[in-house]
Subunit: 297 residues, 2 copies
């Protein structure tokens, strides 16, 4: 494993993505305050794992990762909108996100809700702007529909509802997995699918990549739960122990900390097995999986 | 003018739309509570003006109005999401909508926000499900992009932001028009455009219909302001005088009640002039315009 390759890849494409996000919002003919609120959360940094998955999936097919720039931007907008809404007082009521005051703390609740709405809406328009040389109308329409499924009540929003309803209850492992497969897993999986659709993957490649992303999503979430116990608040940009404070069920609570670490390794292995089966040049995706499982923030 | 024709048309297509909305949400594999919240606001009735505009525009081209069913459903979902979010405590803080408790009063703020998010997201998927016999992928993609523009920060959301920022200020007529052209006008206009795109309208038809919808949207809003003074609270399903209570600028306030009524007639005339120019069979659209200007709720 050569993490320098991933580092260089990440740095180059993160920069591209961040400048694309800025340009896209800057061009909008909208009231200055809503644009400021959209910029604020989009520019707050973060790991940009979802865009990176789009780019690395394209690279696995030997395609130019840059053809995924619009799709990656749309996905990061949806991820950002979900963070803005999740942080609201009526949801998780968080004051800090990535070490900065949350959107509603700066712009007020009303503008925060609307900035989220605007980002979600804009993401679908951005998919539509993918040039015809990169994707056919059929592919773009598939990207729109799969994105809506991943983000909506059958995906991310459904997971958030289940998560809220599960607070204060002792969930089973199945219930916990339902939450994570939907709340974080669906959009992570869509990121890989979006790259695969743009690369014109065949059915078996789509299925194996989808299974890879499924297990990667679970690994991501288990590590999230572990970090809430063992993490460094300064690296995380938020206090640890919030799952306990919010009475949320977690993997360490259901499986013990040691059991959660084993489950994480198991998901990581499964993810890599499906990756192998694709027969593609998957070294970058492989490294991203390792990074997700060992990340400290 | 034969309002019986419009009445029969409205009744038939309202029923079709409402049963389609029910079926679409019922099929979702999502937590029961979010589906309930989505149903609650979608089923709350209302005039269904936007869907009716889709159907009547198709009829003007001699097309079967039913081919607009998915687009009309998507638009009504976006309209409904916007009402749910606008009613929230941090926005207009309304307890009643169409005579029923608002979504957040029944389901709580968090679920209300998420039900809105889910409806908005789902609307784009619904456009994608228009059968290929009805519209090409190119047309569907155009419908997606125009819908995103009409609903997002350059359209409806932008208008809502401007509306909130204008509260308590003495707006000029231009500022007031900016708000209404965006907040209510953009989605009304899109409803006509969606019908026209499905009917494969030519450029000049699109432009004239777009101008018709622009003036219709302004007429709609002026009548809204007039009803807030002269309306019957029982027919409206909400108290009158809320614009004054919320320190909102209105047409009657800027132009006097009599001046607002004149402005309404002027917009109605302009709308009809553009309708004439299309050379289409516009009797239903004509009657809808009259209805909008004379409605009592």
């Amino acid at each position: 494993m050569n993490t320098n390759v991933l580092n260089a890849f990440t740095q180059e494409h993160k920069q591209l993505l961040e400048s694309e996000l800025q340009t896209l919002v800057e061009k909008l003919k909208a009231p200055p305050n809503i644009k400021k609120a959209m910029h604020y959360s989009l520019d707050a940094g973060g790991k940009r794992i979802r865009p990176l998955l789009v780019f690395a999936t394209l690279a696995a097919f030997g395609k130019d990762p840059k053809i995924g720039l619009k799709a990656a931007s749309a996905i990061e907008m949806i991820h950002t909108y979900s963070l803005i809404h999740d942080d609201l007082p009526s949801m998780d009521n968080d004051d800090l996100r990535r070490g900065k005051p949350t959107n509603h703390k700066v712009f007020g609740e009303a503008v925060a809700i609307l900035a989220g709405d605007a980002l979600l809406t804009f993401s679908f328009e951005v998919i539509g702007t993918i040039p015809n040389e990169i994707a056919s109308n059929e592919t773009k329409l598939k990207l729109v529909m799969e994105m809506a499924k991943a983000a909506g009540s059958e995906g991310m929003v459904g997971g958030q509802v289940a998560d809220m309803e599960g607070e204060g209850k002792n969930l089973t492992l199945d219930e916990l997995e339902y939450i994570h497969i939907h709340k974080t897993g669906a959009l992570l999986k869509y990121s890989v699918i979006a790259g695969a659709l743009l690369a014109e993957a065949n059915q078996s490649q789509l299925e194996n990549l989808s299974a890879f992303a499924h297990h990667l999503g679970l690994a991501f979430q288990i590590q999230d739960d572990i970090l809430d116990i063992e993490g460094n608040p300064e690296l995380l940009g938020k206090p640890v122990g919030s799952d306990t404070t919010n009475y949320k069920s977690t993997y360490p609570q259901l499986l013990s900390l040691e059991g959660a670490k084993q489950a994480l390794q198991k998901q990581l292995e499964l993810a890599k097995q499906y990756l192998e089966k694709t027969g593609l040049t998957t070294n970058l995706l492989h490294e991203i999986a390792d990074l997700v499982a060992s990340r400290d923030h």
